[in-house]
């Protein structure tokens, strides 16, 4: 991977703000989607069409209260007039691409600008201590899925990275290359040895953390009994579904009328087993969510952050997602061109599941 030097900067957040200002100021884009510092330690997304409101821009807030893909998809069902620069973390960019592939947004006029992501701290932690900052070198400071994230860099159309003392732009798509050119970054691309070495080492460390996490979650949620115990604290608030950047049905299968059984069916079940647990849909909801969403899951960790019962629901989904993604050789949000696995018919596949 090669990069274009952004002269005069040694800090990713400052370089990002400079690039946002430059793009709006030069007219390269007509709007920029970026988080800003709001009241009471909040970090809302804004769509700025002028540089003035960007005084308080925080392209790397310490938390992720709203997944960027959700913010972007909320206004891009049809492509915007003119170009929009969406400044977001790699997992948010990947979710945005996945959402576009599911036809819920149109990224034609959008440039996805990402960065080396340090991760975020859990929302709940920040509400008790608002001085917290994520430290990629200290896993304990991060939300659990950030601790095992290996795709923290180089996503979307163009990405900002630090190598040694310098800040660089990494164009990743044709759109990203054109954008860099339009902003005047026309110098030669250079190798980034320090960035490469640091990134590779962190990926390796994170891969090990992911393996360990998958192993322990698998053990904990083993079988129907294990899964029932795993979700025993679920209060059924469906927050995990609400905050998911990819979940998009108008009416969730779990809320559909014809899924409900009659009183007679419940009584028959109770009669045959002695008793029937109510409410009946906790496991069905979570298993259904895993079956519906695991192929599109970008492991951002929103669901786990939102869970009021501290159930490691994101780590479970991520573990399942790794399995299903490998099965179909698919990586959610990696490329707009890879077809969604469920739309492709392969005459020969999945023989390993035959008896």
């Amino acid at each position: 991977m090669k990069g274009l030097r952004v002269p005069g900067f040694d800090d990713i957040a400052k370089a990002l703000k400079y690039i946002i200002d430059l793009s709006l100021g030069s007219g390269a884009v007509s709007g920029a989607l970026v988080p800003v510092r709001g009241p009471e330690g909040s970090f809302p997304w804004i769509l700025a069409s002028d540089t003035a409101p960007l005084e308080g821009a925080e392209p790397l807030p310490p938390v992720m209260p709203v997944q960027g893909a959700r913010a972007l998809a909320s206004f891009t069902q049809d492509p915007p007039e003119g170009k929009v620069l969406a400044v977001m973390r790699p997992c948010e960019a990947r979710a945005s691409i996945e959402v576009a592939k599911l036809q819920q947004s149109d990224l034609d006029g959008t440039i996805l600008l990402t960065m080396d992501c340090p991760g975020v701290v859990p929302l709940a932690d920040l509400s008790s201590d608002d001085s917290l900052e994520p430290d990629p070198g200290d896993p304990a400071s991060l939300r659990p899925l950030c601790r095992q994230c290996t795709q923290f860099t180089a996503a979307g159309d163009i990405s900002v990275a630090r190598s040694g003392e310098g800040i660089y732009l990494l164009p990743l798509t044709e759109k990203g290359r054109l954008f860099a050119k339009e902003l005047g970054f026309t110098g030669g691309e250079t190798e980034l040895p320090e960035w490469r070495a640091r990134t590779d080492a962190l990926i390796k460390q994170r891969e090990e953390a992911a393996l360990e996490s998958h192993r322990s979650i698998r053990l904990e949620a083993q079988g129907l009994e294990g899964l029932a115990a795993f979700f025993s604290g679920c209060v059924g608030c469906r927050s995990c579904r609400t905050v998911c950047p990819v979940c998009y049905c108008r009416l969730c299968f779990i809320d559909m009328k014809d899924r409900r059984s009659s009183a007679a069916d419940h009584l028959a079940r109770s009669a045959s087993a002695g008793a029937a647990r109510l409410v009946t849909d906790t496991l069905l909801f979570h298993i259904g969510r895993m079956s519906h969403m695991s192929l599109s899951c970008v492991s951002c960790g929103m669901c786990e952050d939102a869970c009021p019962s501290d159930i490691p629901v994101g780590r479970l989904m991520s573990m399942v997602s790794v399995g299903t993604s490998q099965l179909f050789g698919y990586s959610a949000g990696a490329s707009p061109d890879d077809p969604l696995p469920l739309t492709v018919f392969e005459p020969e596949e999945l023989h390993e599941y035959e008896d």
């Binding site: 036809q103 049905c249 108008r250 899924r259 739309t343």
Partner: protein, 405 residues
């Protein structure tokens, strides 16, 4: 739920089922199931006597639902549906339990087989409680014909059809008629061209080729790109000719592969289309209403090309009789506009081009005439917005509950 009157008929299928499991026990257990007012066994229900008996029992006992525990529905579903229809019962109020292929022939232990048959009957009885009548509709066949390819075979076929009083649309992708015959300077081509261009029954469209195809026998819709209006017809004749490959071998015309797959016509290893039957229907493809003229079927002499065109026209005239009606499939899919998020996964998996997307509403909808009720869309829809009539979640769930309880 109102009091149902379900009748269960357990077929012995000669010795096929009766010798392998206790059908009397299956019937007596069926009588205890919800909504069942009658359950009996019969020797061979698909025989003329059996069918007459079934019809009589449905009438006599005022049944509003029928479960036939017998062979695979692939074998006799339509038989028993027809019996219901003549007994005045909506044919979709009949459900089969396959206790031959799925039980008698594969489960050696008679006790186990009997138990399994009871489960399958219970599944069918539970399912049919959730059935509702579906109405068949018919649509009129369009007597017009589209001929694709304006060479000698295509022109001959068009003229013969015009003589028989049919309206024909002749589509040729080159700017002139004549095809390879005129390149070779065949003597009769010029005269044919003149006749075709003079005919009031024939509309010639030059410089165009089919880019989209939808529909089926009686009602095909062929799109020729933005510059032309869609063409509708009841049958198609493919007169697309062939070419000589690098090694001297005969190959279908360039682009034939795309055309064939668009029309869902299968092709052999040589690339030429399969035929409905090698000797009984050699000038028709396996797809109803699509016929072959000239070298589209494989290389032949100019004289044979004309003969094949005559044969293809014969096949059209024999099947596409003016005033003929075809039944549409009542077991179609419907899409709830409220639930649809417009992700279009259903369109990817629909093999019949039956689903369209509205840019304005951002939702998909099913054309009930084109839909064959395969259910692919219902399986693919991530939002549960597609409902397959006759395979509703409620019906499937009741069936599973019956099999598992």
């Amino acid at each position: 739920m109102a009091q149902e009157r379900t009748g269960v008929f357990v077929c012995s299928c000669g010795p096929n089922i009766g010798d392998r499991l206790d059908i009397e026990r299956v019937a007596s257990r069926a009588l205890e199931m919800e909504g069942v007012v009658l359950a009996e066994t019969y020797g061979l229900l698909c025989s003329p006597k059996g069918k007459a008996y079934l019809e009589e029992r449905i009438r006599e006992s005022g049944l509003d639902r029928v479960v036939v525990a017998a062979c695979s529905p692939r074998e006799h579903e339509s038989t028993f549906m027809a019996v219901c229809e003549s007994a005045g019962l909506n044919p979709f109020m009949m459900e089969m339990a396959n206790i031959r292929e799925q039980v008698a022939w594969v489960t050696p232990d008679p006790d186990e087989a009997t138990g399994k048959a009871i489960r399958l009957v219970r599944a069918a009885v539970r399912r049919i409680r959730r059935h509702s009548p579906l109405r068949k509709t018919t649509i009129l066949c369009d007597p017009e014909v589209i001929v694709i390819g304006g060479g000698m075979a295509g022109m001959t076929a068009s003229l013969l059809l015009a003589e028989a009083g049919r309206r024909v649309t002749l589509v040729e992708r080159k700017r002139t008629l004549g095809g390879s015959a005129s390149e070779r300077g065949e003597p009769d081509v010029g005269e044919l061209m003149e006749k075709v261009l003079e005919s009031k029954e024939i509309t010639v469209i030059l410089g165009a080729e089919p880019l989209s195809a939808a529909g089926f026998f009686g009602n095909f819709i062929i799109g020729l790109g933005d510059e032309h209006e869609e063409v509708r017809a009841g049958s198609l004749i493919l007169a697309t000719g062939c070419i000589t490959g690098d090694k001297g071998e005969a190959l279908p015309s360039p682009g034939f592969d795309e055309l064939a797959s668009m029309l869902r016509v299968s092709t052999g290893t040589d690339g030429f289309p399969s035929r409905k039957h090698p000797s009984l229907a050699p000038f028709s493809t396996p797809i109803d209403g699509i016929h072959l003229a000239g070298c589209a079927r494989g290389p032949c002499s100019p004289r044979d090309a004309v003969r094949r065109a005559e044969a293809a026209v014969g096949a059209v005239l024999a099947t596409l009789v003016p005033g003929r009606e075809v039944e549409t499939e009542p077991r179609t899919s419907v899409i709830s506009a409220t639930l649809c998020r417009g992700c279009r996964m259903c369109m990817e998996v629909c093999a019949y081009g039956a689903i369209s997307f509205s840019e304005e509403e951002k939702t998909c909808s099913v054309n009930a005439v084109l839909c064959k009720g395969c259910g692919n869309c219902a399986a693919a829809c991530p939002s549960g917005a597609v409902r397959s009539l006759h395979f509703t979640p409620d019906q499937i769930r009741s069936q599973m509950a019956g099999a598992l309880s």
